[in-house]
Amino acid sequence: MSSYASYTVGEPIADTKAPDGPIEQRWDQRRFDAKLVNPANRRKHTVIVVGTGLAGGAAGATLAEQGYHVVQFCFQDSPRRAHSIAAQGGINAAKNYRNDGDSVRRLFYDTVKGGDFRARESNVHRLAQVSVEIIDQCVAQGVPFAREYGGLLDTRSFGGVQVSRTFYARGQTGQQLLLGAYQALSRQIAAGNVEIHPRTEMLDLLVVDGRARGIVARDLVTGEIRTYTADAVVLASGGYGNVFYLSTNAKNSNATAIWRAHRRGAYFANPCFTQIHPTCIPRSGDHQSKLTLMSESLRNDGRIWVPKAKGDDRPPAAIPEDERDYYLERIYPSFGNLVPRDIASRAAKNVCDEGRGVGPGGQGVYLDFADAIRRLGRDAVAAKYGNLFDMYERITAEDPYRVPMRIYPAIHYTMGGLWVDYDLQTTVPGLFAIGEANFSDHGANRLGASALMQGLADGYFVLPPTLNDYLARNPLPAVPADHPAVASAEAEVGDRLNLILAVNGDRTPDSFHRELGELLWDECGMARDEAGLRRALERIPRLRDEFWRRIKVPGTGQELNQSLEKANRLVDHFELAELMCLDALHRAESCGGHFRTESQTPDGEAARRDEDYSYAAAWEFTGTGTAPVLHREALDFAYVHPTQRSYA
């Protein structure tokens, strides 16, 4: 047994800093209690923002508008390329423009329930309250949302809800919202209020006298390592899905910023809560570098099936109707092909594990539109899904009008992240985490169209007033450039890069990343059990040792060196992977995206164990490969009563 698995339990987290009182009034109360910084004094405060996606872009622009001096970083060549840009479907908001019974209360309820009762009620309620302002803000910026002929905004429905509250801009909602934030940020850059550092990657957090006071970052073009000091640091660096290697995340998305902060004292919460999207294009071979999502709206008209017989490799058209297994319709007759994401994903894995998967490697199931085309006609199907069909054909060279699509689940979002209180502050004073980088609002499962909502809520509306309060209340003497903490943080960063370069082994960064990803996918993916997680906890340290013996990175650290960037991120991925497996092992219940095979109902569905696990698990770092300390934040459900989900 790995010693890493024998974690210790520390003090529970007693106070999340949410005000008491009725839940509808808590955010008002918090904003009123917050101390303000005089507008004339704001320019004297420097705030670092890491990341320029929906959360970071919105926060940087807003803080600069308020008068703060913002220093902002992104590893991409432009802030416009952050991975929020790839979000397709839409953004939720409790506008009730449809008069269909929606309300702040209902969005709050749907989100808590959709998260399988593992999120904090106060935060989720605030998210629902703020959602309505986001749409107003984006429209004012010129975001071209879909509209009706009368000129008003169109909405559509998404999974897990019964109202139409999702605003969208065709299949490119994330792109349009991000460009809105990017343009607001660009205005502040041009005005000199935001100092932007593109192609610059945060590699460590500077902590002085117990407070976050800056970051150490590497210029990816010149290799220069430099410390930037500030009065507060905001991490908006996204999620950690790329630890699996194959995911729908962008190739360069990574966990280094949040993991380095974790090593400096920020607790990491619920790392095992990862979301797997059921409808992605399967891998076509070992060369596969990333996975592409196909909108879940396809499940409205497509029927999912596999052959009844194992190893049936006839082409789909040659398999007669009575030899096909429409397994979702069979197992879940009332929801059929529209069961929630986690259920659909797990069912696909089960039939593939039985040897009934289709396509190369047997890692796929059919999503068949033949019935829909017969019923509605080809033109109607094309009008609804034409752009998705084109995208599928471009990637696979198969025509989905004639041959069923092949789909398979893939990692695409992480609900876990840095633990934050009601103010979005981590356990390191002065360090804030927003957007996917924190753990706050989605519990164990995120609903569709809620990621964009949370990123913009945090950046535009939640962080600015709480950060204000921190800056107003705390004395923050300037950190001199020759402070010993600066020199030691820079040296640590430099040493690590030099160590990687010095190995000069025989294996590439990608080969290690693929191996780690496959291991995690097998043992900490769609279904997890104790034996598998213990296997993973034994194998990860061995793989890490092998990395330090065999990694090969050509070139130097004083130039643009993409292999060095990859290898350096991988070092953090190894440690994070270990914590994910430990978190999954310790949480011996199933909830949302975390399915423990030992904890299921007689029908094979996820069985929560509220009496034992109704808490957020916040882990404290103690050292590489040594057992972390668990701090529990008990979750109290005063407004939404926990129930067991059923879709049969």
């Binding site: 990017y182 076509s284 643009l560």
Partner: protein, 245 residues
Amino acid sequence: MNLTLRIWRQAGPDAPGSMTTYQVSGISPDMSFLEMLDTLNEELITRGDQPVAFDHDCREGICGACGMVINGRAHGPERTTTCQLHMRHFKDGDTIDVEPWRAAAFPVVKDLVVDRSAFDRIIGSGGYITAPTGSAPDAHATPVPKDTADTAFEHAECIGCGACVAACPNGSAMLFTSAKVVHLNVLPQGAPERSSRVRNMVAAMDAEGFGGCTNTGECATACPKGIPLPSIAAMNREYLRASLG
């Protein structure tokens, strides 16, 4: 498939560059162009050579990071981004030339990586609507006719990849700039800054050293998102209107 690649290698902005020939074998027709380059890079690293540097991120055609000139065409033979170009569009035994975007305003950083920060500065000069957070009226306060919203969207689809500039014989950024001008200027929310926006963005574009437009239309042909060529004429009209007003 087995292929011969001739790739532009350049160690840094001031270093001389040259085309270098590589052989790759066992390429699957299902690979994307970037996955084919990944395969080459894995071999180069294992041999201890420097891999070919190129920008890429989302690999699903929306972030705009990737872009290279393939056999003389921006993003290659299909009208899509380089990450969405698949090797089935090439034949076994082909020789493929791979070069960075060529434009004075996009200096080479390394190999196939170029500096496109000029685009960010054009946006910063006026490619926004001034609407500080918290100041917005209700989203339904101003209806926007559907066809206006659709026009705005079609121009807002630009991903800022730079193919338009790379394809243009003059290295002009007119299509990029006009896409943003039209997106914001057709909307009622963009009207108050309509004139200053087009004036400032055109001035910023010129200051960055992009060439002028001679209506060759190569930009719109190369654009992976289909930004329409008449967008440039619309910007010229906006510019004239702003100058006369």
